[in-house]
Symmetry: C2
Subunit: 420 residues, 2 copies
């Protein structure tokens, strides 16, 4: 690791830590004013941002990146407006900091209140979408946190330009210097260095593909919130309303197949396999879905390829679906708990006992009864915005909004109390 | 690392993971029955436990350990009874699992409830007190978690015997096999192996000295909850009730100096230093406290040694106290935020503005106004029992009781809902 990389990362983390102390004491009015100034600046400086983005896109084309990552990377007026609107939405959300989330009086008269406070300094390591820079900065700021952002090298010019615009707009409105720090070096060691800064960072959130998340989880000594991997299942029980089930399966698989809350495996109770599979299979194949099915389901799915063991554990993030016939809800639950990633899991049933059993026994952030897994999302959940979807159990689970970017402290008030 | 050590640790973690799935579905009645059977067994099998403990004590004496660690290690009838009573207390606490901690209806009619669930498998790495084995097993069990316990090599016979008694008593009452696993090898590599088992462990809690905690934080890829390091301060403001302040300072330093919530540094406003320091200094010196003071405080403390930079950052865990005169509350807050360990911090003041400022700006798990730092404790806080005191910000902060040993899941119920 070169000295220059270490120095940049450490200095920026130190600045962020200094900023965090001041951010924690900003009022909601101050934070909202900064957010709105940032939103305006993104629109006002669109030319500057788009020019930087054009350089990233050009470099990506020179390196012969395929069209999907280039599309994710590219900004235009519409995406600029969307980023600015995102910041305005965050400004409109209630301030989580200072919320009293509990309180009681002890037998000795001591009064305890439990109050939300910022986490402190949040590190985010992410891949190529430049909008993450703006979304993450806005959410972290509203929750009173400083943020150190380490985006993908593909988007380095866009991210640096966005960071510059956000800070320049925020400073005159009271944004503490160091509140939004962008790691500008594209050296991979910068991310490794970030994972070791336990003296400055309170938490690290990786956003991106499974490989990135596993690497951060493996290497980071800073506490990590794992996000995003979703090998989600829909289980069609014997008692399911099959017409509704068909719509839900199609929605969970096809409405947006590239995201973590899309379904990857369909489990069907053996008693309804003959009735359900041919009709849902036809719909799915018409929509371009490739089916990978167990032997029992292939009897009802002439279009399907045989599934192999690996299919049960795969998050396709595309138009493929594994299909398996199970004997009962117990087998479905066991399958999900074995192969799932603790993200979003659905049972479609009219049977109350099976619904209760599924929601209690399936180990996942979100368990659905008679609804599509696609609802696992901060905006859908009414949080206003999200920084990601956690699939670990520590700290936050499922969609993470502003509250999930906070910690708490206990304030204890006495009148000369000493312990006996 | 020898194959045998890896095998033992992995097998026990696998058994714990299998047990966790069953533990999550036990009712409160089932868990309490198991806890009460365990409590009775500890008393019934006192002879067996004391005999194993005597071997540990004998080995410690052979290795010429000093009296303090031998005292911590030693069990007697009274300590046996205390462990059993601890389990009965936990049985009397409400079940955190299944508690609905939130819920709302979305505009589209979807109903969301947020329900407490167990964390899963908790690893605990701890030092020599054998009572931790019983306390931790009881709390983890009540919160529906399996636990893998890795105690110190000094207490290996005691811990193994206790684990045996707990499991033997629990199994006939419905304790799943693997719910309480004791790592029996004394090889240090067993702890290292435990820190890498991200497939089986949901969280690792180190309990013990600073060196142990730093090592786990540095090496673990399993998420860690940092506990226990407490460099706590008492700040006596210009407006403090000095008679009450004297009692609080003496209590915070002397009532039990070897624990994490004891005070290590006294900060005194310059306007009351002349009046306050001589009298509190005399009391403290009479109680055997060694004072290490800054130049300004030494003018009022003839008994004090000069403090060096290192004193401000030291958790003495004994009868020493650093003393510093500060110009105002702002300097006190800055000193605490620089040298503190985010544990417990107190201001003694009659001034509302300073009290508000201190409680907002000091970054610690528990901030006190006019009370001793010694109250930071799960039992004192009314949690019934505690697994430790977290001084990190992620997941849980301050005393951790049963609720802090849980996660949550969202249960979402619809009637054929699909995402538009």
């Amino acid at each position: 690791m070169t000295a220059g990389v270490i120095e940049e990362v450490v200095q920026k983390a130190q600045r962020a830590k200094a900023a965090a102390a001041r951010l924690a004491t900003l009022s909601r009015a101050e934070k909202d004013r900064i957010l709105l100034a940032m939103a305006d600046a993104i629109e006002d400086r669109a030319g500057f941002i788009l020019e930087a983005n054009a350089r990233d896109v050009q470099q990506a084309q020179n390196r012969k990146l395929s069209s999907a990552p280039i599309d994710r990377l590219m900004l235009d007026e519409k995406r600029i407006t969307a980023m600015a609107q995102g910041l305005r939405t965050v400004a409109g959300l209630a301030d989580p900091v200072g919320e009293v989330i509990g309180g009681w009086r002890l037998p000795n008269g001591l009064e305890i209140t439990k109050v939300r406070v910022p986490l402190g300094v949040i590190g985010i390591i992410y891949e190529s979408r430049p909008n993450v820079t703006v979304d993450a900065a806005g959410l972290c700021l509203k929750a009173g946190n400083a943020v150190v952002l380490r985006g993908g090298s593909d988007a380095i010019n866009s991210n640096t330009a966005l960071g510059h615009v956000l800070t320049e707009a925020g400073l005159p409105e009271g944004l503490p210097e160091g509140a939004v720090e962008i790691i500008e070096t594209i050296d991979r060691e910068a991310a490794v260095q970030l994972m070791r800064l336990t003296d400055y960072l309170d938490v690290l959130i990786p956003r991106g593909g499974g490989a990135l998340i596993r690497r951060v989880k493996e290497e980071s000594t800073v506490p990590v919130i794992e996000t995003g991997e979703g090998n989600c299942h829909v289980y069609v029980d014997a008692s399911a309303d099959l017409a509704a089930a068909e719509e839900i399966v199609v929605n969970a698989k096809c409405q947006r197949p590239g995201v973590c809350n899309a379904a990857e495996t369909l489990l069907v109770h053996r008693d309804v396999a003959r009735q359900f599979l041919p009709r849902v299979g036809r719909r799915l194949v018409e929509l371009g879905v490739e089916l990978r099915a167990c032997d029992r389901s292939r009897q009802h799915l002439e279009q399907a390829k045989p599934a192999v063991e690996e299919d049960w554990a795969t998050e396709y993030l595309g138009l493929s679906l594994a299909v398996k016939v199970v004997d009962d809800a117990a087998e479905a639950i066991a399958h999900i708990n074995r192969y799932g990633t603790k993200h979003s899991e659905a049972i479609l049933t009219e049977d109350l006992a099976n619904a209760r059993r599924f929601t209690r026994e399936v180990d996942a952030a979100v368990v659905y009864v008679n609804a599509s897994t696609r609802f696992t999302d901060g905006e859908q959940f009414g949080m206003g915005a999200e920084i990601g979807i956690s699939n670990q159990k520590l700290h936050a689970r499922g969609p993470m909004g502003l509250a999930e970017l906070t910690s708490y402290k206990y304030v204890v008030t006495g009148e000369g109390h000493v312990r006996a």
